[in-house]
Symmetry: C2
Subunit: 365 residues, 2 copies
């Protein structure tokens, strides 16, 4: 059932890209929905306090159990603690593991026993802040589907291993903000309309009042680039899974409507100025010889808005999603087969973006 | 021999574009060479002091004489005083008539009798500041060829009409700076390398010390845009035609060498940064939906440098020269068949540039 070898993401059940395929609802605005459940096993100290041997025993127990869990049939085990840094960065850039699990967060060095089981649009992160993080990802805005998959993982795995549970508090977790359902639902959403109309500040303040929080492309502490935001629930304690989902769905639906309204206003009030701006972004991506990550994200944001507004025809949202992920440094290093300096990375990024746009958007005019 | 009708520049002997065809020496740096001789006819007051009837009689005498001048065989007479403003602008943008003759200079309203005879790379401007301005234009850097043509015009026409000549001062002209040979030689030159390396100030100061002067794309008082400069001799009095030509040739050759050196330095010290900058200029021109004239000239300057450095393959200098001239407002209005507001002009400019680059540079990658 599980296997181990050199990192080749194409060997994953869904290639690790299914969540990018733009097949889900509202895919022009919401790139993906992710749902994770934090779980800990009875009988082991929390990851941060456990010793190496304890974490390895826990991993072995989970591995044994997962052999009998249908939803993870065919999943691949990747041992992060035995992986090269570039491979761990690659997994993180692909949104398959957290920065902490990948040992890329200076405050949390790579832990012995850090591992991930990756199946079709699902994953089990082992020895993260909690023993287990059951994670489901879906294309577009689709909380119910992501929740259904995560719940099934939770149920099937919970029949095989004992999760730490307190009848009053619910599931026990290393950090109090996760106690209860251990559920965090998030969407990766593109809000260029609200940024351009300068409405974004108000919208984000409103989110926080509703108990949601926002982050950049790479989760906690990461900067917002290219107008891509991750919106998620802030705490889980004292609320049911249904309440948490309902809240996220309601608020995100509202944000999508505000974004759509902002786009209508832009087209109405600044039609050809916007059109020109978005086409210039396309022209720069199409021909630049050097692109920093931030620049690429900003131009990509413009092109994505152009495609969403049907001003730029002939380009698919899937192509743009791929660029969003594959134009990152570790992906480029992987493509080139070697570590790259920053300026080499900028050259490789421009080359990659040009090739993809020339191939997959050859009719764009 | 001469004819008159609605303005259709394609009816001109060389279509009014031969000087743009990039066939001359150093055509990647020097767009064109222009040589003009100021002449006045005996028996008439200078244009600025003459009455309408006098100017018309002078025009009639010149027209009569030109019928017997071989080098102007097949030339077309255009009466500026009977032309619409847009047509006069078109001729000025095409560099076929001066701003003053076209009545576009607020200090010199359109004069009765203002006219031009246009032949193959030669023209006779009538009732400009002087009665006649004999003008020859050549592609690239080619002072001898331009001088040969202007001299032949001077000789052939001088046999038919009496030019005002003083044995001590030489040819008499309305403005003292032209007295003597009445010769002004100028080159339209592209100096992006010297601008980018910030050497341009020194070079221009040196020019002035040598008795040359510089202007923008449209002669006296016009701003420098897109790193295009017109270099010409400042005065003619007290120097022979040969001395004036030698001076211009020597100085311009030196400027060309400095420009080439600057380009080598740029490629050596900032290779991929320059390459990226020039390709971004291309990408913007290739896809923008609105372009002001100044922006278009600046991006075109970048692309021209890229072509000169052989960094951007598949584009001809002729295509770039055409864009330089045809992307101007009156040309765009002519193309669209109606007067355009500034913002309509910007849209039409972007559309025209896109079409030309898509058609004539389809292999650019």
């Amino acid at each position: 059932m599980t296997r181990q070898g050199p990192l080749d993401l194409s060997l994953l059940p869904d290639g690790g890209v299914r969540w990018l395929d733009a097949s889900g609802p509202n895919a022009d605005i919401v790139i993906s929905t992710r749902l994770r459940l934090a779980r800990n096993l009875v009988g082991y100290a929390f990851t941060g306090r456990a010793r190496d041997g304890e974490r390895l025993r826990m991993l072995a127990q989970v591995k044994e159990a997962l052999a009998h869990v249908p939803i993870l049939d065919g999943s691949v085990l990747l041992r992060l603690d035995e992986s090269a840094q570039l491979d761990r960065q690659l997994l993180h850039e692909r949104h398959l593991v957290s920065k902490e699990l990948a040992g890329l967060d200076p405050q949390h060095p790579l832990r012995t026993g850090a591992a991930v089981f990756l199946g079709e649009q699902v994953g089990v992160l082992v020895n993260e802040e909690d023993h287990l993080r059951l994670q489901a990802m879906r294309s577009g805005f689709d909380v119910p589907a992501a929740f259904a998959m995560a719940s099934r993982m939770d149920r099937e795995l919970g029949e095989r291993v004992p999760f730490a549970f307190h009848k009053e508090f619910g599931f026990l977790t290393a950090c109090p903000t996760n106690v209860g359902t251990g559920l965090r639902a998030s969407v990766l959403i593109h809000l260029p309309g609200l940024v351009l109309t300068k409405e974004i500040g108000k919208v984000l303040a409103g989110l926080q009042q509703m108990g949601l929080t926002y982050r950049g492309l790479y989760g906690e502490g990461s900067e917002v680039v290219g107008n891509f935001f991750q919106l998620s629930n802030q705490t889980t304690l004292g609320r049911s899974e249904e309440e948490l989902q309902d809240l996220l769905v309601r608020v995100v639906r509202h944000v999508i409507e505000r974004e759509e309204e902002a786009r209508r206003v832009l087209v109405r009030d600044a039609g050809y100025i916007i059109e020109d701006k978005l086409w210039r972004a396309y022209g720069t991506l199409r021909f630049a010889r050097s692109l920093s990550f931030e620049e690429a994200m900003n131009f990509l944001s413009g092109v994505r808005l152009g495609v969403g507004l049907k001003l730029i025809p002939g380009l698919s949202v899937y192509t743009l999603n791929k660029l969003l992920i594959f134009a990152q440094s570790a992906h480029l290093a992987h493509l080139e087969g070697r570590a790259l300096t920053d300026s080499e990375s900028n050259l490789a990024r421009a080359r990659y973006v040009r090739q993809v746009l020339a191939t997959e958007g050859s009719g764009v005019e």
